[in-house]
């Protein structure tokens, strides 16, 4: 691919008003490097669910379904490493301590049933998740790119990722996302208080505390109270 094609793609990125056509475009560009599937997603951390964090889903649908259902994100070395490095990497360069586990090997084996044998991942800063990643998958056993091709793909992946996140979150300034009570309960939870202790401090029933926590978790799209506290702090809704 010549660089002019890359810059033409970057310009198209800014013109899309929804994620779908951008995904198709990026997939087509990635095809030039031998990749036929891709996913663009926030990286799930500490047992978070993957599916609510996915912005562009270009995997085989049944593989994605299985991956989510069996919570493979928690054992897949590629996924875990995507949250631990800021550098682009080939999947086969994921450190052995992550890639060599039984769980990770199983995920890699099963992926081959869907024609996914190797890949390349580009992590980037996210203001909404811990960080985000575009991961490209190849049917070849050992995908390879020249330095030039790598530079082209990293440039396109980062700018596409940035464009998608900008699309999704542009107008998402929501200072009133959580109620005062929900913020109060999360603040106490963040300082280590149990539901029952928080109930006593605020003079409300424990079941009411639980109700506020559950509602906050739903609004913040997270699974646990700890994640809710962290996410609320990241969005500057609370200041623990």
């Amino acid at each position: 691919m010549i660089d002019a094609d890359v810059f033409a793609f970057l310009e198209r990125c800014d013109t899309y008003t929804s994620a779908g056509p951008l995904l198709d475009d990026l997939l087509q560009m990635a095809g030039n490097f031998g990749f036929n599937h891709l996913i663009l997603s926030g990286v799930p951390m500490g047992g978070q669910r993957l599916d609510p964090m996915v912005e562009l889903m270009g995997w085989p649908a049944d593989w994605f379904e299985r991956y989510c259902e069996r919570t493979y994100a928690t054992v897949d070395g590629v996924c875990i490493y995507s949250g631990q490095t800021t550098r682009p990497f080939y999947w086969h360069d994921v450190p052995e301590r992550l890639a060599g586990t039984e769980g990770s090997r199983r995920v890699a084996n099963e992926a081959t049933e869907f024609g996914i044998r190797s890949g390349f991942a580009v992590p980037f800063l996210s203001l909404n998740h811990w960080q985000s990643v575009v991961s490209f998958a190849s049917p070849s056993k050992d995908c390879k790119m020249s330095d030039r091709e790598k530079a082209q793909l990293v440039t396109m992946a980062t700018m596409a990722g940035a464009a998608v996140e900008a699309l999704v979150y542009q107008d998402e300034y929501r200072p009133n996302l959580l109620t005062d009570r929900e913020r109060e309960v999360l603040l106490w939870a963040g300082s280590g208080k149990t539901h029952s202790e928080i109930g006593k401090i605020l003079g409300i029933a424990e079941v009411t505390v639980k109700k506020h926590v559950t509602s906050a978790k739903e609004k913040l799209n997270v699974a646990t109270t700890v994640q809710a506290v962290i996410q609320a702090a990241r969005l500057r809704l609370i200041h623990p």
């Binding site: 810059f7 980037f124 800063l125 203001l127 530079a151 700018m159 996140e165 990241r234 969005l235």
Partner: protein, 214 residues
Amino acid sequence: MISVHVVQPGNRHLYEREFDEFLRRRHDYFVTKKRWRPESPDGREIDQFDTDAATYLLGIEEGQVVTSCRLIPTNLPHLVSEVFPNFCEARGVPRRPDWAEWTRTFVATEQHGLGRRGTLTQLCCAVMEYALEEGLTAVGGIQETYFLPQHKMLGWTVRPMGLAQEVNGEYYIVAYIDVTEEALRRARRVLGIDHSLLVRRGDQRPFLPLERRA
């Protein structure tokens, strides 16, 4: 929210302590952590572009310098023109007084630096405000590709000058951002503010030479 102080040769004496802290923070980050430059015995990082032509923006919160950066007109020698011109293969090295090179961005990590409304976003908003006030048309420079989404997230127009390239395993890209009223509005909307973040004390010199200003 931070206050962002504009520091130049004319008012530098008002900021001796803060400026020294800024140089030590730079050393912590760019030398100790990133290993971009050799260690300096006095623990301060200074390079050949820290001349009287530079304007510094120091973000101060509760008396501490929590974020900072440096702006240099690109018609003068700057980091990209002298060290990384090969990053501008597609569009050429910019050399215009109204395009400022934005470098040495630092954010103290303990300050919730990278949240959507975090310190880095506040600094970006202040840079845009300063650039607009001074009549600049673009700001930018070399940065890790990893951080590029920050600007896009604010709804800013980001123009790469060439492809990303690998240096010691990390990818960098030279990109410039359009300076516009709309860009400032968007950054302020993200932060939920409608006031200025800039503080100008003492003697201030215009960024553009007077004859070039409209």
